[in-house]
Symmetry: D2
Subunit: 362 residues, 4 copies
């Protein structure tokens, strides 16, 4: 099931970028959770295009409707259908590119896989597909917050060469993240990130970046021990996002340079439980949550759609020079924030419900 | 199904590090593949402990038996049962650590999840669990090689601070990799890597590293477009290995520093097909293979078991100083090579069989 | 995933009987299948209420919209979103029954499972949920017909005591089935079936029946050998329909009275292949299709909603006399015909695509 | 995953009838369940061949070993590996039948699916495959009994034309069932059943039968509402057993002859909960358990292996007369008892663990 994610708390998405709309079905959400569109819309608003001049000018209000699974403000335990119509699709923008596989887009690979592809835009490979994820993730987040007290906050930790290490994963809030247009939660660096994006944009070019994310309040013991380790599912979730090229948790690649005596997290008492505040492991041990904050980073490449002329070949192998006309973001990381949070929430909500089943024999 | 991986070509592993043995069931392997233990044992031999003085002294021959699914040298299409007995387990080594959760091991998280844990060693969190993966991966590899001509080669690209960029992913072979004890395929750097491991070992300490891997010959179009993108399944597969903290494909984290015009892979004709030899995308576009080599890197932390004394607390919160007595590797990356290859093979074999369905409508 | 069915060709349904509508997502349908709403609507029309005076008077046109996955008349390989709005829901009909669990309905069990239930009608347990199945099944059927030449025909073989054995499974067509209002394909018996339904209806009562179904043109070798035997998936599919109480394939329960020498199907040459025309096995052997027609029967109980007064208790245990006011069918089997066909198609389409993956090594 | 069953509590079986042995992996069993081989062996003993002169003379002790997942007498939460070696396989018995597909066996369909098949006996289609199910089912049963107080009892309710309706599903015990050689729990009829089997055996023939089963103590609310209805999973489970041709629950096929007013189960107070003692629904409503006993029946055809000469054709279409030499049961239902119980237990254990998630929102 290529478009379905999760074992118990599941989401299945559907919809192409220039079709009637995009949506999702969330199945496995427990009954009696208070829920309405108002719980979902804020994250869609953070994700939607046209928010400001750092993003694509495609103008979509992205208003979500709940089609099923909720009655009188509470979930019924049945599948929750979600739908967001497409309003501002412009298939004609893509007419002249029909026979040219755009470099570093999925045009070529979709054509090779399916023998056909959506006539305009990225179809399913468009970032519009993530709307279903964000809507579903908002439900997962509500469940995690209400029942378990879990908080998830992502922020932009790098744009091109501009990095920040000034964000405290223990305390950062979404309000702080949203204070800067670029969503980096560290004002001194934000201006430089914004400048880097504007420079790329002015050059008809694009630029990459890194998103960091913390999940606080996850109790010890969530996750599965072998193939579905918590970090493995987070890695899958993040690398399933368009434009991602890397994932690291805790000490990540930098940790490979350390010795065990520098890297190990000794235990100390933290109130009633054992803790390991050095947390180089990033909140997981052996695939299971440790009770410490789960901290990870996701690499996003520069968007493939650029105005700069590119020398490439068409599907017949004939040389062409391509100047993309589709609307696009010069840098995806500011809008990726709610998407990363959504995927983290989907992984954790599923882990929470799976853990109920491992229930210990008393 | 926490211990099962794959949709069509599946593997389920079982067994604890100090129990009777470890094994796996491979289901979904096509019938009539020529197969015997001799196809599987070489990768187990590359993985087994006690190979040389860079690895743990635990001495296991790790001889595999095929229990089912093969008759007269060919697969029947039925589940292939695989078993490797444990010979040199020493539960008594762990007696004095029973009440101390070892720092950066899974003792604490397993106890929190299950309310019980294996009495010695890591149980399921031990690297011995990977034996089932390696055995299953060898079958996946044979299928990929015989039917599709796919080649998978991994090598050590960093130990601590010592890195190599001198390995050519287009040509490197396993024979070259195995020429150096540390499996780095680049002799000038190998000696420095070996020295780094020996230094760590002599200090009763451990050290991290990075494994790189290339999959050559994968045709365009394998993978799934949304949650099960090829890079997403590879990321899950790699982060499901013990001691891994990061995954990157193609340009990875470094690519986030580039502009789109620097990062995009223009197409050129390569014989009968389109290619993109700059391959910053690492062989995937939109979750599907592009026909270029798939290249990725995996971060392994320094092993948590070290002889250096560590100040920590026991399960009751009482201060203790722990000096581990269990046998262990000072650095896991040399032995991780066949494990990374196995997981890549499992991902690709499943993708290959999933892909068979597409394009049936002519 | 309680609301998802299938491994490769999958359907996920959503929607309550008195909500905004009902729908489904079909994932895994191969690309380039010619498809439009016109392929789906005819089976929905055969299923819809209010067709004639043997069915519920609830008046729904049940017009389907394809939301995604199809462009310019062909499938893209992406998820196919399907939606049918509810038009004639009357929640107020159920007001006075809110505190009474209707006998042999799911009110009580849903309340016990979820701690909440849809405020009117059956919610997800309503037969309206089957709309998503029928729409998805129509796509599965088209795939089976176009690519494999498979034909699926169901008919009413019993209403109460009135049975027909006069339908030839080798030749019966949907046109013949639809010639009689009761869809029995055997005119002499049809009138007696219709009379039985009318008698029940006139008595404010309901009556049960049996649906038979044949799948012709299925090649030998579809199905899986153990838990997902073809007959096992058909049995699951049929018993997942509301109001079903039994399933039998081939000789069924009657075959238990025979000796092996009477029951066995000897092989004979049939053109190029082996056949077993006695076909007491019903087109399957060992869980796999044999190449003979697959023939099975499904038992439907009398509908639980009746106008006859029933002595029962409310949720608080207080005695009440219930006279149902909701609109309902006096007998479900005529409208169950396209539903049984849909579920058979979903099982077979998945088996067809799974079989591609077992592909034999040549 | 053709050889895997279940969502949370899962079993995967492996092994051919004339290979090294057969086994299973049980995954998802909660930790800290007291467990040893002694919990499993009794059901294997009830299943094993050679028990008495009503069964096949193949002599197998069928001693099970637990390979993993249990330590110091309790489950660890990790996969439980189970293995039973084959002792008395006689491949040579089948030599002369190699080119003849045995009528109503799976030789032909396996050959068509896989292009190869096990060289002797039924391979995976043999009843020996059910050993893994029985071993796994015994673990499921223990979990259900210890944690939930569920009891499962199956008995033979028909052999050929000889039927019993004299068994009380509310009270029947396994001890009563085992009092008669034929396991019918109703002595007056048992002798006639035994006679019917002996007559078939003496005629070198075989005979069919029906197994009934009751699951007592299942609380209301287990099961899933749509495709995975409890009756649907039971139907799949039972039709996945070799030689089964039908399944019915509660009133079954006979219930189709009733009117709603005769068939409905009114509610009454039963202690603290609502009950419906008429229980024509067989313990389920809308796919969910109702709290009443779950009662179902399974049809087993006469075994296909008979000594009577059969006129058939070989794989090349040449006429042959086949007289089977393999050892076989004249009637499978006495040995099917523990197998039916095992499959019921696997369905219910999975439903129990799935149900844990519901109602978390208080």
């Amino acid at each position: 099931m290529a478009s379905t994610f999760g074992t118990i708390f599941t989401v299945a998405t559907f919809g192409e970028s220039h079709g009637k709309g995009v949506g999702a079905i969330v199945d496995g959400c427990p009954a009696r959770l208070s829920l309405s569109e108002a719980d979902i819309q804020p994250q869609l608003d953070r994700r939607r295009p046209g928010q400001n001049n750092l993003t694509t000018p495609r103008d979509e209000s992205d208003k979500v409707s709940i089609l099923s699974g909720v009655e009188q403000g509470v979930t019924l335990g049945s599948p929750i259908g979600l739908f967001v119509p497409n309003r501002d699709s412009r298939p004609s923008d893509y007419g002249n590119m029909r026979n040219v596989p755009r470099p570093s887009h999925a045009d070529y690979t979709y054509q090779m896989k399916y023998g056909v592809r959506a006539g305009s835009g990225g179809g399913r490979s468009s970032a519009r597909e993530t709307i279903g994820r964000v809507a579903a993730g908002a439900i997962a987040e509500k469940l995690l917050r209400v029942v378990y007290g879990v908080e998830i906050v992502a922020w932009v930790s790098a744009v091109g060469d501009v990095e920040t290490t000034g964000v405290d994963a223990h305390t950062v809030t979404r309000a702080q993240v949203d204070e800067t247009l670029v969503r980096c939660a560290h004002a001194p660096v934000a201006d430089r990130m914004i400048a880097a994006i504007r420079e790329a944009k002015d050059a008809n070019d694009s630029i990459g970046g890194v998103v960091s994310c913390v999940c606080r309040g996850v109790p010890a013991g969530w996750g599965e021990p072998v193939f579905d380790k918590l970090e493995a599912k987070l890695a899958q979730a993040m690398l399933s996002l368009p434009a991602t090229k890397g994932f690291e948790i805790g000490s990540g690649f930098a940790g490979t340079r350390l010795r065990g005596s520098q890297h190990n997290d000794p235990y100390v008492m933290q109130g009633e439980r054992l803790g390991s505040p050095t947390n180089r492991s990033g909140g997981v041990q052996g695939g299971l949550s440790s009770g410490e904050p789960i901290v990870f980073r996701v690499a996003f490449k520069p968007p493939a759609t650029i105005g700069v002329a590119q020398s490439t070949v068409d599907f017949d192998g004939k040389d062409v020079v391509l100047e993309a006309k589709g609307r696009h973001d010069p840098c995806v990381v500011p809008r990726a924030i709610p998407i990363v949070e959504a995927m983290a929430a989907l992984v954790l909500a599923d882990a929470a419900l799976l853990q109920l089943r491992h229930g210990v024999i008393q």
